[in-house]
């Protein structure tokens, strides 16, 4: 298989702040690849380098075989970039925005109208095409940006947190869009903070933190690597409980969540559950709640970064 996006030792430094440390990525043709990480992890900086908006401090990145630093025009011709923030389009109508951008992609004049019609249709905005952009809802504005990303039928779509701040309905439309594009043969790089979104859409994901890839693989692989099951134990005395159960053979790993809960990774929760309760009872440790679940990407994230994604988001 051929890599459509490839980064080796990619690095970006702003002053004395290292935004991206030494990032390696390899994204194959036709994949939906998720870039996960808390705010400030280096996702957007990585994307800005891959879309030729920032020159890398060191390292190499190639998109469709073209080096982003030496052949930015070739790269720009092949990518559709949908920014995290909705693009401000002033007093124009949806159709005017799309037609103007079609001309900026050098579509022949006779094709501009037809193509604008097609991409507006693809995101379901055709009925609202002649309304002014200022009257659009947040979800519609986002879909307009998504439509503009399709104008030149790019081989690669780069979507930076496309469903951020959208309502459930609009999120579903974004997911539909991603699936349709993949079915059409596009390669998609999707940065997101929503692990459920990554789980649904992505063939492979990379979790990045502190400017580097912490772990990557398919969502199923990553979850399997965590463990078979995860128990969440809420107790008034997590430290003592940790000491008590750590030597037990069925414990694979214990991570303290930010909320004070213990996340105990075990082979089989149906065996471990009574064992935890028995031990706690014998040592007189009060348990408030014990639940267990199949591991989610949240657990993967916690295991590899030591933080829960949601907590990090709130804190930053």
């Amino acid at each position: 298989m051929s890599a459509v996006i490839e980064a080796v030792g990619l690095r970006k430094v702003f002053g004395d702040q290292v935004a991206v440390a030494a990032l390696d990525l390899r994204i194959e043709r036709g994949e939906v690849f998720g870039l996960l990480g808390p705010n400030g992890a280096g996702k957007t900086t990585t994307i800005r380098m891959l879309t030729t908006l920032l020159a890398p401090t060191a390292g190499v990145a190639r998109v469709c075989g073209f080096d982003v630093a030496t052949h930015p025009s070739e790269v720009r011709r092949r990518i559709g970039y949908v920014m995290q923030t909705v693009a401000y389009r002033g007093l124009l109508s949806g159709r005017e925005c799309v037609e103007i951008e079609a001309s900026l992609y050098h579509l022949p004049r006779r094709d501009v109208r037809r193509r604008a019609h097609e991409v507006l249709d693809a995101v379901g905005l055709l009925p609202h095409a002649d309304r002014r952009w200022t009257t659009y809802s947040g979800g519609m504005k986002k879909r307009l940006d998504l439509a503009c990303g399709l104008l030149h039928a790019p081989e690669v779509l780069v979507l930076d947190e496309p469903s951020l701040g959208l309502d459930v309905q609009s999120r579903h439309k974004v997911w539909e869009y991603v699936r349709d594009r993949q079915a059409g043969g596009a390669t998609i790089l999707l940065a997101t903070n929503y692990l459920d979104e990554a789980d649904r859409l992505c063939n492979r994901v990379a979790i990045i933190d502190h400017g580097g890839v912490v772990v990557s693989g398919s969502p199923a692989e990553l979850k399997r690597s965590v463990s078979a099951d995860v128990m969440q134990v809420a107790t008034g005395d997590p430290e003592r409980l940790r000491q008590v159960i750590t030597p037990e053979p069925w414990v694979k790993e214990i991570v303290g969540g930010d909320s004070g809960d213990l996340h105990v990774y075990v082979e089989d929760a149906s065996v471990a559950l009574p064992a935890v309760m028995r031990l706690a009872l014998a040592q007189d440790i009060k348990l408030e709640r014990v639940t267990y679940s199949q591991p989610s990407l949240d657990d993967v994230f916690l295991l590899h970064t030591g933080r829960e994604l949601r907590e990090v988001e709130v804190a930053s």
Binding site: T51, S73, A87, G90, A153
Partner: protein
């Protein structure tokens, strides 16, 4: 799905450098026109903005001309036709004002992030500034024609006639190129819009006072004359004023030459600044 179908490959592979250059040029023209269309639509939808910007120079001429005329010494300004004298100054004043307000959309694009979207497209870096320039020249030519019409009603006759008016528009366009490029560069260089307005406000009036807009050069103190001589505004005013009051003269040609030089310098500096601010250091196109 229809939207995923590959586009028909409309451009045959370039067989030679000439053909490639021709294609790059037509693409560049397409970019500039598309961006200018955006500015044009916005202007038409902002009716009040359109109305006031069109009328402003004419109103300035009437109020300023009528008020200050009596305080002026015809000996000092060299003519009894103060309105005619002021016409070039008012036009230049308008160009500077347009330069400041014309950079605003670029400032918004930068702050709202749309500039990033533009920069992720395969467009030439110069086309954004050039589209602003094309748009401003069109808008401003309308303003100038209107103010000339008002001046005509007040008794001002352009000594060189309609052809002279055409040359006045050319001089105005050349100065516009300098001013637009300079303020665009400033818009891209500043960290945020407050800084832009502070600097633009600080610069605009001295730029006018340090020229022959209101007072002829020979009436200025020596040090001020020196400053005025390196101010491109002076040359635009000199060319326009000569065309209005005196007639055809070699001065007009030399002033236009200086304006051309200044425009080229400002455009080069503006594009360079734009490239720097948009992180583009690698590719010419």
């Amino acid at each position: 799905m229809k939207a995923d179908q590959a586009l028909p490959q409309e451009q045959a592979p370039a067989s030679g450098a000439v053909q490639a250059r021709g294609q790059a040029r037509s693409q560049w023209a397409q970019e500039v026109l598309a961006l200018a269309r955006r500015w044009w639509i916005e202007l038409l939808r902002e009716r009040l903005n359109l109305l006031f910007s069109l009328l402003q120079p004419a109103i300035w001429l009437v109020f300023f001309g009528a008020g200050v005329e009596r305080a002026m010494d015809a000996e000092v300004i060299g003519t009894a036709d103060y309105m005619g004298f002021m016409l070039a100054g008012i036009i230049t004043f308008t160009i500077v004002g347009n330069g400041v307000s014309g950079a605003m959309p670029l400032l918004w694009d930068k702050e709202t992030g749309y500039l990033d979207r533009l920069m992720s497209m395969p467009i030439a870096r110069s086309s954004v500034i050039v589209s602003r320039f094309v748009f401003q020249v069109a808008q401003q030519s309308a303003q100038i024609l209107l103010v000339v019409l008002v001046a005509y009603a007040l008794g001002v006759r352009i000594a060189t006639g309609p052809l002279g008016l055409l040359v006045i528009l050319v001089a105005a366009a050349l100065l516009t190129m300098s001013v637009t490029a300079a303020f665009s560069a400033l818009a891209y260089a500043v960290p945020q819009h407050g800084t832009f307005f502070a600097i633009a406000g600080f610069v605009s009036l001295p730029l006018l006072f340090m020229s022959n807009a209101f007072v002829p050069l020979h009436a200025m103190p020596a040090w001020m004359q020196v400053v005025a001589r390196v101010n491109p505004l002076t040359y635009a005013i000199e060319a326009m004023r000569t065309l209005v009051l005196d007639g055809w003269a070699l001065r007009v040609a030399s002033s236009l030459a200086v304006l051309t030089l200044a425009a080229a310098l400002c455009l080069a500096a503006g594009t360079q600044q734009f490239r720097k601010q948009t992180g583009e250091r690698v590719q010419r196109r």
